[in-house]
């Protein structure tokens, strides 16, 4: 028996998305940019996908550009914003962004851009007052994720966007963890640019999109042919685009029911953890969070040992800790939350999705308390 509880890392491809993609990996192999009918016939399925995503985000299809994933989208937004506003030399971000945002920022910092980070509190919530105090008319871009991948904490987009716009800055949000899980409306949140990843919402890997608000003349990141109106060169990933479209269509249809199901699953799993694992706590539980994400701390127990023991029982979960990712030191998210390294080293992330079953939940409930008890018996800190 196996159970997958690492949906914030990636999700399984929806069977409907796979089915929709198959013809485009087979007989429908044409290049949509070509003159002949082999290719031209592919334009409609691709444009349908664009319409689906635009519909989900409350955008116009002309505002959606397909990319290779969330990382490319965020790179395009961040590097493009700086080029678009050469008179401004600053970027403000949250301290808990994903590396897909942090690394382009670090790159620009080496090129002379000043990057400032707004802190979060102990519940993982963005400090809005601190963010505002960092803003001035020299800020080209404010980039703040919509929901954090490790804690699931959801940031108040409308307020962040309002602050950015008051100083004339552009606002980008890395929304890869939010889209498909909670309602994301670009006009309501006031986003100028928004990153989407297909594989986080049961679409294919290597596929993503960026929403660019109409009228924002963002320069391309990748130069080449005239694809995507010259904004993103490279032959269309037709199966990927079609798979994204189908995944988005399902997400739009399922989002309310799925949200309710995930919320009650989260409540049940959290109750199980708190009741049957003494010395446990849930990070960010005082903040609004994604319905599918639990970040639990098991005092006195090292997270990777928990993951290894769960893995041996067929359960896949994850942690932001050092060893599991090969980096050194605990995750920057936990550091930003002011957690001690000891606590950060004891945090385990349990994330799930539409396809997580009651059986998965039972397997977790059967093994997690036992695992914690066993490891705590070995621990000098128990």
């Amino acid at each position: 028996m196996t159970a997958y509880f690492d949906s914030n890392a990636t999700t399984r491809l929806a069977p409907e998305a796979l089915e929709a993609m198959l013809p485009f990996l087979g007989e429908s192999y044409g290049n949509p940019s070509a003159f002949c009918r082999f290719g031209r016939a592919l334009l409609d399925p691709m444009e349908n996908a664009r319409i689906e995503l635009a519909h989900l985000l409350g955008a116009d299809p002309s505002e959606i550009i397909f990319t290779s994933g969330g990382t490319e989208s965020s790179n395009m937004a961040i590097k493009g914003a700086v080029r678009l506003m050469p008179a401004r030399s600053r970027i403000v971000a949250s301290a808990v962004e994903h590396p897909a945002v942090l690394e382009p920022l670090a790159f620009l910092e080496r090129e002379g851009i000043e990057v400032s980070f707004a802190p979060v509190d102990g519940e993982g919530m963005l400090d809005l007052a601190a963010l505002e105090s960092l803003l001035d008319e020299d800020v080209a871009l404010v980039t703040v994720m919509m929901a954090n991948n490790e804690t699931g904490v959801i940031f108040p987009m409308e307020q962040v966007a309002g602050m950015a716009h008051r100083v004339g800055a552009l606002f980008h949000t890395d929304a890869v963890q939010a889209v498909g899980k909670i309602p994301v409306e670009v006009q309501q949140i006031g986003a100028d640019m928004l990153s989407v990843s297909a594989h986080k919402l049961h679409g294919p890997k290597g596929m993503g999109a960026i929403y660019i608000k109409g009228g924002i003349d963002l320069p391309p990141l990748i130069h080449g042919g005239h694809h995507e109106c010259g904004l993103r060169a490279g032959t269309y990933n037709v199966p990927g685009i079609v798979g994204l479209g189908k995944a988005v269509e399902l997400a739009a249809r399922e989002i309310d029911r799925q949200g309710r199901n995930l919320s009650s699953m989260r409540r049940r799993i959290e109750e199980m953890i708190l009741e049957s694992c003494p010395g446990s706590s849930i990070l960010g539980s005082g903040s609004p969070r994604l319905p599918n994400t639990i970040c639990a701390v098991f005092e006195g127990v090292e997270s990777e040992a928990v993951l290894t023991m769960l893995d041996m029982a067929g359960i896949c979960a994850s942690s932001g800790s050092a060893c599991s990712t090969g980096q050194s030191g605990p995750s920057h998210v936990f550091k930003a939350m002011g957690l001690s390294d000891a606590t950060a080293n004891s945090a385990v992330r349990i994330s799930f999705d539409r396809y997580t079953t009651e059986g998965d939940e039972k397997l977790l409930a059967a093994h997690l308390p036992r695992t914690i008890e066993k490891l705590r018996a070995i621990s000098p800190y128990s």
């Binding site: 290894t308 023991m309 041996m312 390294d341 000891a342 080293n345 018996a377 000098p380 800190y381």
Partner: protein, 190 residues
Amino acid sequence: MWNYSQTLLDHFTNPRNVGSLDNPDGHAEVGSSECGDAMQLDIRVDADDRIEEALFMTFGCASAIASASALTEMVKGRTLAEAESLGNGQIVEYLGGMPEEKIHCSVMGSEALRRAIADFRSRRDRVRQAIASLPPELSRALEGCSLPLERAGATRVELVCGGEGHPPVEELEQYLADRAGHPVKVGFSV
């Protein structure tokens, strides 16, 4: 997930020699939960410098726990000299290999052993120095008895007496404990 050997996973899920000793002969704490790895090791050493018992507690990943478990198995019954010659490479070998990124876990094990042995020696030195400089009233009360220095351990000493009278075992234990900084048991034989 890491690719672990079956032996390593066995030591991780069924760790040997978990626990701690009351009044150990040697104790070591290495790492800290802040670094993501921490280990505590207690050893009991007999009068022939042989490790009778080794117990550990570990906060750490699978390889840290398995390394500690393997280490305790490897040192039990060995002399201090033999134990000291153990390197972390032998722990890795014992466990059937370990991912390169995890070798530091085995280093923590051999570091704990080195420090526990050093702690044992320093405890024992304090006890032996205390024996070598008994106060006059205790010396007088122990007349006719011998306290062989070379048999004196870190937490146990042997007192051999001629037969007559009652040697002041409790006073001696109290004195040694005060001087050594930890409880010392006096074994009395005639």
